[in-house]
């Protein structure tokens, strides 16, 4: 115990001796007894009301099991979430959103007791001007530098915006809500903060109290990682927690420049993944709004594994079977309806760096799919890419084989580089597609039985997107435009089972052509995409 703590204890004990004696018992006991009677009566009435409401509640809850609630929570549970610059503690169920503006060291968080329009700006802004009558919303912005001089230091109080504005301001704010604000700076740092809270005219006292308690709970600090949220789009926090004392955060956000939802995991501490030995990772892929069955991504960081992914909404249970450890169920959460995603996300923090299997089950308990996972390998893997050799369109390494795509004039060749730098042609795709796309595929295998495949071809000018379905989530493939305007598409993936479809879409998201990966033949019933 240090000197200050000792002095503090002594002081508190001395001051406590000076505390007044309590007021007389009779009055307090009389009031308590009266309250016991009232509480008892209220409980009886509540019980009756509950019985009457059961049927209604059951009907209401069944279709709305996915409320955007973060993983592993119960009503009333407290959750602490770390986002850049801000640590916030709140009571479930709430929807927490994060805006991370890429070019500015700024973070904005928004907490609501309702599903906000997650594809818009924060609630009560010009672009998103309304909120439910019984809603409460807290928006907090933290940025480095640039704050007005002379502001109060944190901690601050939320002050009513109506103060000093006169009665004519009554009801003018965001559907008649009460608005509160605070502005200040964080002592001993260059973080400047601004917060606004809105309380709907019919918000409950409990929600109002919880909102103020959340504001009081805020802690401002340097970011633990950079969340890869696009500027202008908010990300919904689906789950958060700590693994080996390292915070992790699972978010969902509209994908950039294409339809679909990006699901991303951030883990670690520090402003930059690549400097200072700080940890963090993320999934930069695209999750189209419809999902075939299961997509899972194990990420190993600092000796621990975070397993996360997405499953079709029909999946009722995701069972994780780590190798050498007891199986357990990952908890499922769906983003708020306003995000427009039709998948359910899951995350499973695990100590150690295990391999294993995840098994998805339907509501009847039937197994839908079993997928083996391995550290750092996704069912939609990050394929090692390299700078293509001179003259090549693309190149990389798959299960030990060096490959490249080469334009030979009338066709695109997939070549394998040998040790003496010779190239052998493995597959050829015609440069002039008969329909929307030409198609070729090849599977590589190494001595240990690992496989990887690559699909490629040429896309006609009207093709704006090529989507690949394998056993996991569909995703848009790479498209490179050659000097003469020819579009070459390609995608490598592990494991290399050629099963699924590749689909060409135009600018209106109309399916122009679908090809079966196994046969290379056209498909009459293309898989549904987000444009359907």
């Amino acid at each position: 115990m240090n000197d200050l703590e000792t002095r503090l204890r002594d002081l508190l004990n001395d001051d406590a001796r000076r505390a007044p004696t309590p007021s007389g018992a009779p009055d307090a006991v009389r009031r308590a007894r009266r309250r016991q009677f009232v509480v008892g009566a209220a409980a009886a009435v509540t019980a009756l009301a509950c019985v009457a409401a059961v049927a209604l509640v059951t009907v209401q809850l069944l279709p709305s099991r996915n409320r955007g609630r973060p993983l592993d929570t119960e009503d009333g549970a407290l959750r602490t979430v770390h986002v850049p610059y801000i640590m916030i503690t709140y009571e479930e169920p709430r929807v927490l959103m994060v805006w991370d503006q890429a070019s500015v060291p700024t973070a904005v968080v928004q907490l609501t007791n309702f599903d906000p329009n997650v594809r818009s700006d924060p609630v009560c802004s010009i672009a998103n001007p309304t909120m439910p009558d019984d809603g409460v919303v807290l928006v907090v912005r933290a940025n480095v530098g640039g704050g007005p001089p002379g502001t109060y230091p944190w901690p601050l109080e939320l002050l009513s915006s109506k103060a000093g504005r006169g009665d004519e301001a009554e009801g003018a704010l965001c559907g008649g809500s009460d608005e509160y604000w605070a502005q200040g700076r964080v002592p001993n740092s260059d973080i400047w903060i601004w917060a606004v809270a809105n309380v709907g005219p019919e918000a409950s006292a409990a929600d109002r109290e919880a909102l103020f308690a959340t504001f009081d709970s805020l802690v401002f600090d340097q970011p633990f990682s950079k969340i890869g949220v696009d500027a202008g789009h908010g990300a919904v926090v689906l789950g958060s927690g700590e693994i080996d004392e390292t915070p992790w955060l699972l978010t969902a956000a509209p994908a950039r420049e294409q339809p679909g939802i990006a699901l991303q995991l951030d883990l670690g501490e520090g402003p930059d993944h690549e400097q200072g030995g700080l940890r963090g990772t993320g999934f930069g892929g695209v999750v189209v709004e419809s999902i075939e069955d299961t997509w899972v991504n194990p990420s190993v960081m600092a000796g621990n594994t975070m397993l996360f992914g997405a499953v079709h909404p029909d999946v009722a249970r995701v069972e994780v079977r780590p190798e050498g450890a007891d199986p357990f169920d990952a908890q499922l959460v769906a983003p708020p309806a306003s995000l427009g995603a039709t998948f359910t996300a899951f995350a499973a923090p695990m100590n150690g760096a295990p391999t294993g299997t995840i098994v998805t089950h339907d509501a009847a308990g039937n197994v839908i799919r079993e997928i083996a996972f391995h550290p750092d390998r996704s069912t939609w893997p990050e394929i090692e890419q390299r700078q293509p050799p001179a003259g090549a369109i693309a190149g990389g390494k798959l299960v030990g084989s060096e490959w490249e795509l080469v334009d030979v004039g009338d066709a695109i060749h997939l070549q394998e580089r040998t040790e003496n730098a010779d190239a052998s042609v493995l597959m050829t795709a015609p440069r002039a597609p008969e329909a929307a796309i030409s198609f070729a595929a090849h599977t590589f295998a190494n001595d240990t039985g690992e496989t990887a495949s690559i699909v490629f071809g040429v896309a006609a000018p009207q093709v704006t997107q090529v989507v690949l379905f394998t056993s996991g989530l569909p995703g848009s493939v790479q498209i490179d435009t050659l000097a003469d305007g020819t579009q070459v598409y390609w995608q490598a993936f592990e494991p290399g089972e050629l099963k699924g479809q590749v689909i060409a879409l135009d600018a209106d998201c109309e399916v122009l052509q679908a090809v079966d990966l196994a046969t290379g033949e056209p498909v009459a019933d293309p898989k549904p995409t987000s444009c359907d």
Binding site: L8, D15, P22, A28, A32, Q36, L78, T89, E157, F212
Partner: protein, 171 residues
């Protein structure tokens, strides 16, 4: 049967009074250390007792009456400051108020520390009182303040840091 009923009818009122006598002094001390105001402390302690005892039969863990009472006191103290929106004024006023003169060689240091404690925001002050007067572990502080353990840890740490800064600055 009638004897049993009679005894129970008598026992319960006596129980509430016992409960009050047992817990009220500690409740007032806790409220006093957080608010620094004897009158407010008495009011808050009584109100907290009425609220918790009033739903005593509905408490999930009646044996943890003191924990419920502590949580309610902390809540009422912080609500008091917030709802009245007088914390800043209060803190300034009390920071300037002459504290009772201490006897002994370290009286000046104590006054400094007391003033610094009064200047802390209500939540930090409550966390510090719970940790260093009630001797609660971080989990206990978090329970009493209805926040997570990291948040409680942060409140204590920030409070101590602020105390240290203020005390050193005044030297």
């Amino acid at each position: 049967v009638s004897v049993t009923v009679t005894q129970r009818a008598k026992a319960e009122p006596r129980g509430l009074e016992d409960l009050y006598l047992r817990h009220a002094p500690g409740a007032v001390r806790l409220a006093y250390l957080i608010t620094g105001d004897p009158d407010i402390a008495k009011d808050i302690a009584q109100e907290a007792f009425v609220r918790v005892a009033g739903r005593f039969r509905h408490l999930r863990f009646p044996d943890a009456f003191d924990a419920y009472l502590r949580r309610t006191i902390v809540n009422l103290c912080t609500s008091h400051f917030r709802h009245a929106r007088v914390e800043r004024v209060y803190v300034e006023r009390h920071a300037e108020r002459q504290e009772p003169t201490e006897q002994g060689p370290d009286a000046g240091d104590r006054d400094e520390l007391r003033r610094a404690l009064r200047r802390l925001p209500a939540k930090q002050r409550a966390a510090i009182v719970l940790r260093y007067y009630e001797d609660l572990p971080e989990q206990g502080v978090a329970d009493a303040m209805r926040c997570s353990v990291p948040a409680a840890r942060s409140l204590i740490s920030r409070g101590m840091q602020t105390l240290r800064t203020i005390v050193e600055a005044e030297r």
